[in-house]
């Protein structure tokens, strides 16, 4: 599910170049897409939107959260230094910042001016200063908060390598409304881009410090907002039990201290109520037939069909929602043999994999790893692919698969070894169906398999992300990015330097020296076109190894009620952005 894929989001915001072309904005890839991306202008004020979600949010703390649904909530309750407007997912706009980022000193210094007049919600209620952003970032290094991407993106800041929640020397506040970052390496433009992540949302130190002193931090239960909406809280600012009942409900109300003057968000809705924990299928039905409802879950194939056929303007297919692929463990037999991997790639019926998720409307068959909207996609071959024979037939090519097996040393064209393959996939349709298709493909090739369908936390935390677990294949993995920069799609996922004993992002454990070298060079390449070429070439190289079998370029469907004017966050899987969405009168 995209949500799981979404956990990789923060890492994928590694971009270097500025001024990225807005490849991912409108549906240039959604030939059969229905509603086009509404930017929300001229919406009707008032009303309460109800969001139905079977999965709970992970955390309300901007320093902790990393999931797609959480980001959806934070986008309308927190103001980060820079952000995206929902339908322009590659254009950086100042939010808390007063103007564009100022890079100097050869890229080693970043200066950001903070807008005046932005105030925290009650009970803090005072004006936001640069020191609040400084504290927000510093607390990311506090083990009680343990932000997942702080060291990755803010790691170049002077003093960050020794940070553990205390002051970081390299973040300076010469005055209340100026923030200066001093870096050890010339990566200031990267840093500027990464401030779209929630970590840069201001946190009032005097209010939050006692909560951050607890292990784990309790700030999430008392979180205070700066955006047009806030989580309903009691007079002390406590949201847990008040506006947020874990597993049951979440209530966003207007932030009385927010002023429309200093913000580009229209904030039409009066409130947003989340109903959490029910059945996704039931929610889907209710959304399609009801009023004022938005479905936060990925819709089932049956719902996609129904909406597509009967209520075309109630479903939006958000393009560029990532690539799905099946990772093959290249470190242990039998997939340490490239011919065997190519046989599997050739045998997999990618059309069927797509069909059980809803068919043509929900995405394009993938043939390499960069996906539509990411720079370098076309240069790597676009939708036709890189030209490798084992991915030439979307419906699978059993004859070719047999030839590769023979090349691998199995004269019958089928596997005759003794290994039983451990396959780990996700429980729950349609992911479980994809896993079973993959499993059956392996069995048809003669492999003996043992398939396990588990929860996503278990799949990543115990199996696919742990090399020690010796899982042979993980068919339900994938990457998504936020920015058009191709490095974010390929680097962590296929670079041999990122194979960790735990939380390993390089699931196939690909460690190809030539590819590693090319990536190291690609990191330092400057200029859009040059980077696109460099990373397209790396994409081709990775595809040629068959370390993973790409099978879908997601076009994430989002379903909402007939009276909802949903403004999709194209940078966040198409979730309706609450600060722009409105209800039709």
């Amino acid at each position: 599910m995209p949500r799981l894929v979404k956990r990789a989001l923060p890492l994928l915001l590694l971009i270097l170049a500025t001024g990225l072309a807005a490849c991912g904005s409108s549906s240039d890839n959604g030939g059969s897409s229905s509603a086009t991306a509404d930017d929300g202008a001229g919406g009707h004020r008032g009303g309460t939107l109800t969001v139905l979600t079977s999965q709970d949010i992970t955390s309300l703390d901007p320093g902790i959260t990393y999931q797609s649904l959480d980001l959806n909530v934070l986008a309308s309750t927190m103001r980060t230094l820079y952000t995206y407007e929902p339908t322009a997912p590659a254009t950086l706009v100042p939010d808390l910042a007063a103007g564009p980022p100022q890079i100097s000193d050869g890229g080693k210094t970043l200066t950001v001016r903070i807008r005046r007049g932005v105030r925290f919600a009650p009970p803090v209620s005072r004006e936001v200063t640069a020191r609040d952003v400084k504290y927000a970032i510093e607390r990311g290094f506090n083990p009680n908060v343990a932000n997942a991407y702080a060291s990755t993106y803010y790691g170049d800041v002077v003093g960050a390598d020794r940070a553990s929640g205390g002051a970081i020397a390299g973040i300076q506040t010469p005055d209340d409304f100026t923030l200066v970052f001093r870096l050890t390496r010339p990566t200031a433009s990267l840093l500027a881009q990464s401030t779209v992540l929630p970590l840069s949302a201001p946190v009032p130190q005097e209010y939050a410090k006692p909560f951050d002193a607890k292990a784990p931090s309790q700030y999430a239960a008392h979180v205070v907002s700066t955006g047009p909406y806030m989580v309903a809280a009691d007079s002390d600012g406590k949201v847990l039990g008040e506006g947020y009942v874990p597993g049951r409900s979440l209530r966003l109300v207007r932030n009385p201290n927010w002023s429309a003057a200093g913000d580009h968000r229209p904030a039409y809705l009066d409130g947003i109520d989340f109903e959490i924990g029910g059945s996704g299928t039931v929610y889907g039905r209710q959304t399609l037939a009801g009023r004022g409802l938005v479905l936060a879950d990925p819709p089932t194939p049956a719902l996609v069909k129904k909406a597509y056929q009967e209520a075309r303007d109630q479903i939006f297919f958000s393009p560029g929602a990532g690539t799905r692929y099946a990772a093959l463990n290249t470190a242990i037999p039998p997939f340490d043999d490239a011919n065997v991997r190519k046989a599997v790639a050739a045998a997999l019926d990618r059309e069927q994999m797509r069909r059980v998720r809803g068919g043509e409307v929900i995405g394009d068959i993938a043939s390499h790893f960069l996906y539509p909207g990411v720079q370098g996609f076309e240069k790597a071959g676009g939708l036709e692919g890189t030209g490798v024979d084992f991915l030439a037939h979307p419906e699978g090519d059993t004859a070719l698969a047999a030839r590769y097996m023979r090349a691998a040393g199995y004269p019958s064209g089928r596997y005759t070894g003794g290994e039983t393959l451990q396959i780990v996939g996700l429980a729950g349709a349609p992911d479980s169906n994809d896993a079973q298709i993959f499993d059956q493909t392996l069995q048809d090739l003669g492999f003996k398999t043992s398939l396990k369908l588990v929860d996503s936390g278990v799949m990543y935390g115990r199996f696919c992300g742990v090399p020690r677990a010796r899982v042979h294949a993980c068919p339900n993995v994938g990457w998504i990015r936020d920015f058009a920069d191709p490095q974010t799609v390929l680097n962590l996922a296929f670079n041999g330097n990122f194979i960790f004993p735990e939380n390993n992002p390089n699931w196939p454990q690909l460690n190809d020296a030539a590819i590693n070298r090319a990536m190291a060079r690609g990191e330092l390449t400057v200029g859009d076109a040059a980077r696109a070429s460099a990373w397209a070439e790396i994409d081709r190289m990775i595809t040629a190894t068959a370390a993973a079998v790409p099978w879908l370029y997601d076009r994430q469907p989002n379903v909402f009620a007939a009276d909802v004017r949903c403004v999709p966050e194209l940078w966040n899987q198409g979730h309706c952005d609450f600060a722009y969405t409105s209800l039709k009168p």
Binding site: T281, T300, P301, A302, V304, K305, Y308, D349, Q352, R355, V356, R357, G358, G359, E360, V361, A427, A429, P430, S432, N433, Q436, I437, D439, Q440, Q443, S450, L451, K452, L453, V454, V458, R462, F463, A469
Partner: protein, 323 residues
């Protein structure tokens, strides 16, 4: 008519027949005659035998019916949105979302249900009888210890215990050092663990009272070893209650396996299991009713037959117990 237990009058007739014929019949002969005369129980027995045959000969049954195998994914049986087709000429019970034939999977599902049910019941009975025997015969602190242990297990929410163990043991190499591999073995273990206590209690009660009977006391007075007493005197008298309770247990274990599969912690896919099929169907059963109805009906039929047979056995063994 053992569905309602024989009428009082009919029962007296049977007594008359058994005695006035002038021939002394052994308990087993009486038992088998009563059973044979119970039409409903015989029908149930025939059904169960038929189900076992179908399960064992599943590949043959499927081939004779002209249906594809249970794991064959028929691309053409789903439309462009992935919606599966309902019952038709090619697929009598329709297909599931992966295009697999539901008739085939229902037939193969019998394998899992019956295998786990029968073996699981067997293991539970074995454990339960052993514990009950030891507790009832030796009494004293042994009995106290074992009874307290049974208390602890019974205080535990049984289904949740089953879920927990099943989910923990179905990952990686299994548990108990790899002796319990994920799949059928784990489910059998879980079911046995969860159901043995009722038999243990019953057997303990029976042994406690049997122990004081004259023939046991006499045997012990004559110097027979404990083992001899247990095996020669006590066990034979336990056979009837053991059979009765096993037959009561079997339908429960079959239902328990299906429940575990329904919750996703039973036998893992792609092995066909009725409970798993029902769970898989629960998302779309409003439009894909066949996928939910047929496995459920098969489950109902199997459990019903087991219950009827259990009733029949009980009545045949102890016609005065009108339950």
């Amino acid at each position: 008519m053992s569905v309602g237990a024989p009428g009082l009058l009919a029962q007296e007739d049977r007594y008359e027949r058994d005695f006035t014929a002038g021939v002394a019949r052994s308990p087993w002969q009486l038992f088998s005659r009563r059973l044979r005369e119970d039409r409903v129980a015989m029908a149930a027995l025939a059904t169960i035998v038929l189900l076992i045959l179908v399960a064992v000969l599943a590949p043959l049954v499927v081939k004779l019916a002209g249906a594809p195998g249970p794991n064959v994914q028929d691309r053409d049986a789903t439309d462009m949105f992935g919606t599966p087709l309902g019952p038709n000429g090619d697929h009598w019970f329709g297909v599931d979302p992966l295009g697999r034939d539901v008739f085939s999977r229902t037939v193969y599902g019998a394998r899992v249900s019956l295998l786990v049910g029968i073996v699981g019941t067997g293991v539970a009975v074995l454990v339960g009888v052993t514990v009950g025997l030891i507790a009832g015969y030796y009494r004293g602190w042994v009995d106290t210890l074992l009874s307290r242990f049974v208390d602890v297990v019974l205080s535990f929410p049984v289904l949740l215990l089953g879920i927990g163990i099943a989910s923990a043991c179905s990952l990686g190499k299994g548990c108990v050092g790899g002796a319990i591999t994920p799949g059928v073995r784990t489910v059998i273990l879980v079911i046995a663990l969860v159901t043995w206590t009722s038999i243990a209690r019953v057997v303990r009660g029976q042994v406690l009272s049997l122990r004081e009977r004259e023939f046991v006391v006499a045997a012990r007075a004559l110097g027979a070893s404990n083992r001899r007493v247990v095996v020669r005197e006590i066990l034979p008298n336990l056979t009837a209650p053991i059979i009765v309770y096993s037959s009561l247990l079997l339908p429960q274990t079959i239902l328990l396996e299906a429940a575990l599969s329904f919750l996703g912690v039973g036998v893992s896919p792609p092995t066909a299991s009725w409970g798993w099929m029902i769970a898989d169907a629960s998302d779309n059963f409003d439009t894909q009713w066949w996928y939910m109805v047929f496995p459920g009906a098969a489950l109902l039929l199997t459990v019903l037959a087991c219950n009827l047979l259990g009733d029949g056995l009980r009545d045949a063994l102890d016609p005065r117990a009108e339950r």
